[in-house]
């Protein structure tokens, strides 16, 4: 409750601030949709053009303080228009398509940004955002930095852990299989093993035992959603897995790791380091 | 066996106070136009509705004060035809209110149900189903055995509404036999006035929730009241000491 109030006060302050900023430059007219896209805007140092974000835009703090227009996959044209937006930087993962068409019809410039989940796509995202925001120089700088990190990621030694990625926020805990962003990030981190199904699925206790993960990857949000670390180890079956017996889990920043935004290479490197340490300690 | 002391119902439909006695071995017919309160009377006599004022006594004890299970072996009811929701086998259905397999066999014989015994009740015609309902009530009382030492009451609400003329006659004769040989008290709501006049020992004539006449068929049909109650033009003659009604052309 108190957190909400704080947020409310902060948003109010920010409205005031934004009003001032808008008055000063008359350039704040953009709503950004997609956490990765928002992070790129922030990396390029152009948050001053933003008047709004969507629910997935939670990093960095200056983005999180912006008013939200709703969830990435449930966009409404009206909430975008109510912020006085004249431009929409929108991830291709956004839904529904009709909303984007409506916004275009209302005279909003809709800039679609690639939604791919690999380094090439990340580079394209940065270029597209930089072009749209007229920040090509900053964009090239960011790409150079990402390229350097990419080279380090690509040089990572393969790992052998059976690491199980558990997605915990909202809804029953789901386990990551193949063909999703967790799969992509884990492959880049050098992890080869994955449960043999696609997407994210509910997994029963016995199946968990059979998968026999050696370490659990879970985000702080996911852990909190489960009800804390104790609740994680109370999940049916997990106590009988190697990971459960030794209570091995690694906290990962889901947003950074799975978003394929500017923080992703770093997050992959961090995950690799944590896993390597875990393997060495076994 | 059944005594009404100023028993009345203030609920809707209402029923004005009645005081009377039904003796074992008596076949009482209840007649009256639609909406006169005949079915309401049956539910009062069976104890389903408690009288608003006055009392309904069975063997000197108010109906509500009897043990329900014990009373069920001495008082049974055949309600107006209502199709059961599920497809009971006839032989199974007959045992629903209790009754021995001998009693069930006797009831099957008495109501000529041998051909349907193994069939589902859902596949029967309206008249066939009505006979099954009557047979079931007889099983509950074991009405085809015993003499008058145990007072037993059978209440029937238009039991012959779907029966053909042959079955109507055989049903009335069966009821007479139950009354004479087994000492049952029978209360039967009837629409067919000739049937009522021919077979009943006594008649109650109802109108607008009140009993307007009671007595032997001759007494009830003697004055012109019956024609007025039903709002018809009637010719009443006598045949074997029983009144006989004919619609005037």
């Amino acid at each position: 409750m108190r957190r909400l109030q704080c947020r409310g006060v902060a948003v109010l302050l920010l409205f005031g601030l934004l009003g001032a900023v808008r008055f000063a430059w008359a350039a704040a007219d953009t709503v950004v949709v997609g956490g990765d896209v928002a992070e790129i805007v922030a990396e390029l140092g152009r948050t001053e053009v933003l008047v709004g974000r969507d629910d997935t835009g939670v990093y960095p703090a200056e983005i999180a303080l912006l008013p939200s227009v709703g969830y990435l996959r449930r966009l409404s044209a009206e909430s975008v228009l109510s912020l006085g937006a004249r431009r929409l930087l929108v991830s291709d993962a956004a839904q529904p398509r009709e909303t984007l068409a409506q916004l275009e019809a209302s005279g909003v410039e809709v800039v679609r940004i690639d939604a791919g989940q690999d380094f090439d796509a990340l580079e394209r995202k940065v270029r597209q955002v930089a072009t749209a925001l007229d920040a090509k120089a900053q964009g090239e700088g960011l790409i150079a930095r990402l390229d350097e990190q990419r080279a380090r990621v690509e040089g990572l030694a393969p790992l052998h852990s059976r690491a199980l990625f558990i997605l915990g926020h909202g809804g029953a805990p789901m386990v990551a299989g193949r063909g999703n962003s967790a799969d992509a990030a884990m492959r880049l981190a050098g992890l080869d093993w994955r449960p043999d199904f696609s997407g994210y699925k509910r997994v029963g206790g016995e199946a968990l035992v059979a998968l026999a993960p050696e370490v659990v990857l879970i985000s702080p949000i996911g852990l909190e959603a489960l009800g804390g670390e104790e609740a994680l180890w109370r999940m049916p079956g997990i106590g009988m897995t190697p990971a459960g017996r030794e209570r091995r889990y690694i906290e990962v920043d889901e947003q950074a790791l799975l978003g394929f935004g500017p923080r992703t290479p770093e997050a992959i490197l961090a995950l690799h380091a944590a896993l390597a340490e875990d393997e060495a300690g076994r | 066996m059944l005594t009404l002391e100023e028993a009345c119902l203030d609920t809707t439909p209402r029923l004005a106070a009645i005081s009377d006695r039904l003796a074992p071995g008596e076949l009482l017919g209840v007649i009256g136009p639609n909406g006169a309160g005949k079915s309401t009377l049956i539910s009062l006599l069976s104890g389903y509705r408690a009288p608003s004022r006055g009392r309904v006594l069975f063997d000197g004890v108010a109906l509500a004060d009897h043990d329900p299970a014990a009373l069920a072996r001495r008082r049974a009811l055949v309600a107006q035809a209502e199709a059961p929701a599920f497809d009971w086998r006839v032989s199974e259905f007959l045992g629903l209110g209790g009754g021995t397999s001998d009693g069930i066999a006797r009831a099957i014989h008495a109501l000529e149900l041998e051909a349907f015994e193994a069939r589902g009740i859902g596949g029967l015609s309206g008249g066939e189903r009505q006979r099954v309902m009557i047979a079931r009530a007889l099983c509950q009382l074991d009405a085809l055995e015993g003499d008058g030492t145990l007072t037993r009451l059978l209440l029937l609400d238009e039991p012959n509404s779907a029966l053909d003329i042959g079955h109507q006659q055989r049903l009335m004769r069966l009821l007479q036999r139950l009354v004479r040989e087994r000492g049952l008290g029978v209360v039967c709501v009837l629409h067919d006035l000739n049937l009522a006049a021919t077979y009943c020992d006594r008649l109650w004539l109802l109108r607008d929730g009140a009993r307007v006449a009671s007595g032997t068929p001759r007494e009830v049909f003697a004055n012109g009241g019956i024609a007025e109650v039903f709002d018809v033009e009637l010719e009443i003659s006598l045949c074997d000491e029983r009144p006989r009604l004919r619609l005037r052309q």
């Binding site: 809804g171 009800g227 | 329900p68 049974a76 929701a85 599920f86 629903l96 209110g97 009530a137 209440l155």
Partner: protein, 337 residues
């Protein structure tokens, strides 16, 4: 309809045999293969034993209890309403219980441990009780075909209300609460651990026993209320007992495993065709049949797409939905004949 040749007791024995077979298959199949020899004392290694004892056995037991409860509850409700379509899910009992449990989770604050579990039982019980009382009040105003439609519409309305209430709760719920909400929403036995199963082993047999004792009363009620009264039935007390037992059982089932639909419709209906509508046989047979159906369905849910798991409520609805439609169509046809 013919009752078949076999004696009714033999039919129950056949069902029991099938249940035993299903339990054996269920006990020995799963992601981790355990052979049926296990049942004869040929213990597997420590891990296999642990999986069997900690995960598979409580789950099978819970499946038996909840399946029995849902089917017997359906049979009893159908007898009480004298309506073959009266099912705890269709009439909204399960959803009412679910909404009450959800309200407890979201509004009542997080209660962990056994206390929280029993609080959820209580909430489910109250939710189911309120809905059954409501539905009964609506249902008794009508008779015959009209009653069928009215009841189903009332159930539909209650399900819509419960759905909206659930949506509202999910909207204001925190993340952790959302996870708990989805637990009952999905309809699955995946959360069967010993504490929950033990609680079910206390509560559900109580409700089942209560229902079994209503069998004669439900039989009598089929004569119509007036005739049944003359045959010695206290309809009001019967109604109270059935509604209490069903609400207790369905409430607890929903609190434990979420909404698993159509078992209460499917099982009694099939069994009625096979062994007639008499409740003294139908109720126990439904218990066995319901247990059989849920154990089979849950075994499929565990193994069909392993290691991923299909919510068992999805499977029973997949089976029950078309059956329900077929029932409706068939009723329509017999009505026109």
């Amino acid at each position: 309809m013919s009752g078949g040749q076999a004696r009714p007791e033999t039919k129950v024995l056949v069902l029991l045999g099938l249940l035993a077979l299903a339990l054996m298959i269920g006990a020995s199949s799963g992601v981790i293969g355990l052979s049926p020899r296990l049942l004869f004392g040929d213990w597997p290694d420590a891990l296999g034993w642990q999986v069997w004892w900690q995960l598979r056995l409580p789950r099978l037991l819970l499946g038996v209890l909840i399946g029995a409860m849902l089917a017997a509850g359906g049979a009893a409700m159908q007898g009480l309403f004298r309506n073959p379509l009266a099912d705890p899910t269709l009439l909204g009992l399960a959803n009412g219980a679910g909404l009450a449990v959800a309200a407890l989770i979201v509004l009542g604050g997080g209660m962990a441990g056994p206390l929280g579990l029993y609080a959820q039982f209580l909430a489910g019980f109250i939710g189911a009780l309120v809905v059954s009382a409501l539905v009964f009040q609506i249902g008794r105003r009508y008779r015959g075909r009209e009653a069928v439609v009215t009841l189903l519409l009332a159930g539909l309305a209650i399900n819509v209300i419960a759905g909206a209430g659930g949506g509202l709760l999910a909207f204001i719920a925190s993340d952790e609460q959302l996870r708990q909400l989805s637990l009952w929403g999905m309809g699955s036995l995946a959360h069967a651990l010993w504490p929950a199963t033990l609680a079910a082993m206390v509560l559900l047999p109580l409700a089942l026993l209560g229902l079994a004792r209503c069998a004669r009363g439900l039989d009598l009620l089929q004569l119509g209320e007036l005739t049944a009264h003359a045959a010695g039935l206290d309809a009001q007390s019967l109604r109270r007992r059935v509604i209490l037992a069903v609400s207790l059982g369905v409430g607890a089932s929903v609190a434990l495993a979420g909404i698993i639909g159509f078992i209460g419709l499917l099982v009694p209906h099939v069994l009625r065709l096979w062994m007639g509508p008499g409740h003294r046989l139908l109720l126990p047979a439904s218990m066995v049949g319901g247990a059989l159906l849920l154990v089979v369905a849950d075994t499929l849910a565990r193994t069909m797409m392993s290691p991923a798991e299909v919510p068992v409520g999805l499977l029973t609805s997949l089976l029950g939905g078309p059956y329900f439609l077929w029932l409706l169509l068939r009723r329509r046809r017999t009505a026109m004949e």
